[in-house]
Point group: none
């Protein structure tokens, strides 16, 4: 019988469907990152959002849709900083910038991986995530950001004209994925610097021997 949204919700939203939806998604992200995706039951999300369980269904049609949307939204937020990477062109050294990317992308992946892993483990959820990604496009494409950065450096003359920027970008992102994968698999906190690989790539980019 109680009609208005609880005060605690109105305190952080204007009560509009969009904002309430966003509020619920934030709650879902909170729960998922704190306790894991499997702990993100509708009850837990509703509690975190300070809403009744039934209310969720006024904003999302199933738990799957809600969780998928939360995963994608969180991924977008976490990778947002990557969009700024091309702006580093011309600053520091190329090697140091690539190193920086590996470190930052690594941190971002650490936060995303558990959520995407949960999606990979559940075909229905994975489908929902895919649908959601299509709607949310363009996703932050890390390889594209790196390529953009390298092309800028090429224009600045800090990278050889013939360098295959796309290939180097792909490789760099691959390294990040590998690192995150290994870290999770072996419960390691070590964050490899990838010095040697970056050196190899820089040589390739600059044409030095």
């Amino acid at each position: 019988m109680p009609r208005p949204l609880p005060d605690s919700v109105l305190a952080v939203t204007d009560g509009s469907p969009e904002q309430v939806r966003a509020h619920i998604l934030s709650a879902a992200v909170q729960v998922m990152t704190r306790k894991g995706v499997s702990a993100a039951s509708t009850r837990a999300i509703a509690e975190e959002a300070a809403l009744s369980g039934g209310t969720l269904y006024n904003y999302f049609s199933t738990r799957e849709e809600l969780v998928a949307r939360a995963i994608v939204r969180h991924s977008l937020e976490v990778t947002a900083s990557i969009a700024a990477f091309p702006a580093r062109a011309g600053t520091h050294t190329v090697a140091r910038n690539l190193q920086f990317f590996v470190t930052e992308a690594g941190k971002a992946l650490d936060r995303i991986l558990p959520l995407l892993a949960a999606a990979f483990a559940d075909p229905g959820l994975l489908d929902a995530v895919r649908r959601e990604m299509l709607d949310s496009f363009p996703l932050n494409d890390p390889a594209a950001a790196v390529e953009k950065y390298l092309l800028a450096e090429r224009r600045l003359g800090r990278v050889a004209t013939g360098a295959d920027c796309r290939a180097v970008a792909s490789i760099l992102v691959g390294l990040c994925h590998d690192d995150a994968f290994q870290r999770h698999l072996h419960a390691s906190d070590e964050r490899p610097t990838r010095h040697k690989e970056i050196t190899l790539l820089v040589r390739s980019l600059t044409g030095t021997r």
Copy 2:
């Protein structure tokens, strides 16, 4: 009606504990790959194995142990062929061999990724997988296999003396991980050839420009 294993099980095993255990693990892998790890309930596994639910517990002490063992065992089987990769040293061309590796490792990863992802999504299961991996050591380490291959090529003179074989191996494996990740995330069947990246790596290996 308690005693003999059902005919359907005896048809594919000799009834020995080892084979029954393997049969159950196969059933678990079947279910997990077909329906996702989250659908691999004890009931579903028992049904797939054509066994009663209680019987599972004569062979495994918890569902977690059973699933973890199935994941690790499947991973070992799928990556077994990688151990043979170093033997390609001296055959074909280095580029073609690396290409071959990317393709084969990609196929293997496609089969493993969903299972490992499920482990990543469930802390308890991940722990069990780690324990299981320790028992099953040595795991097939793809980067080590590639490095071994490259070192052999260097001995054969097909790779420059100064080439950083370890770094190239790391990069190659990173590419594979990235490919598999992208493929799963986007439900793609495309298998990128990674021609350009391999070219870059070969140049680095041979010291050509």
Copy 3:
């Protein structure tokens, strides 16, 4: 079909949480007294209450809590009449009143004993019962009621000044326990009158020989 309580439940409650809780507790008592505490599974209780199994958990957090509460509540109800016993002081004869107590307490114990026995047999349940008893205090203490009655009789002059009322009360309650125990152990319906023991006690109380 999720929402309203079934008609059969609304027929005996007003639908308020307190009454539904009481209804569930009654169902639990029914099952326990009819089939034994070991048969009081959540399913059986839910069925007796004409509710879905999950609904129980909206009113009690575990089966143990539910069963313990049912046991204590039932015990309180059954022993409620004992609180009125002291009011008999001055009426009838002391012997007849003690006889009356033995009979009434015996009937009450017959209904309680199997439930308390079940608690004795299950450490976890026993703990829960103890906790519940603390909350429900003051429990009806039969010995205290008898002592209170005897002290009143002493004030009225129907019991000798030097009589040890506490000791007599203890003894009387002990007789009741013994009777109930024997009755249950031997599936007997016989209700011993305890004439001779009461005579002995009355002599002690009145100082007659």
Copy 4:
């Protein structure tokens, strides 16, 4: 396929059905007293007896029969010492002897009560226990032992001729039951001496005021 009983069993029995049965009952008693009746699964009993689970069914037709028999046997053993009580007639003082009885019977009841409680909680088991008791008759009847003791004292002149020995015996046993009951219900280790009640009884026995 293994035919003979395991060595560990043959080490403590002669392999005859009676002794094997007794061995199994001992194992059951061990488990029940150590872990509680609810932990006395057939598996646990078989393990304690160092026998295969199926073997139990060559000696007992159901778990219920086995457990009931173990309970009754244990009760007989524990109360065996009571048979010796009448021999105390003429020694010490009557009061002290009654005190001794209360203490000893209390200890015995503490060991029996959890087992009988479990039986009271489960109608099927209780029936089995009753059947078993009929077969095992005569049970050690504590009240009868006390009465026998008191009659002997009467013959010795330490108890008045007119004393109602039967009634006093009943009362004393009732006190023991009550004590055990209270102890279990309140998780108490206190063992009340029952000084005042015994004094009352002794006065009744000796005709003193």
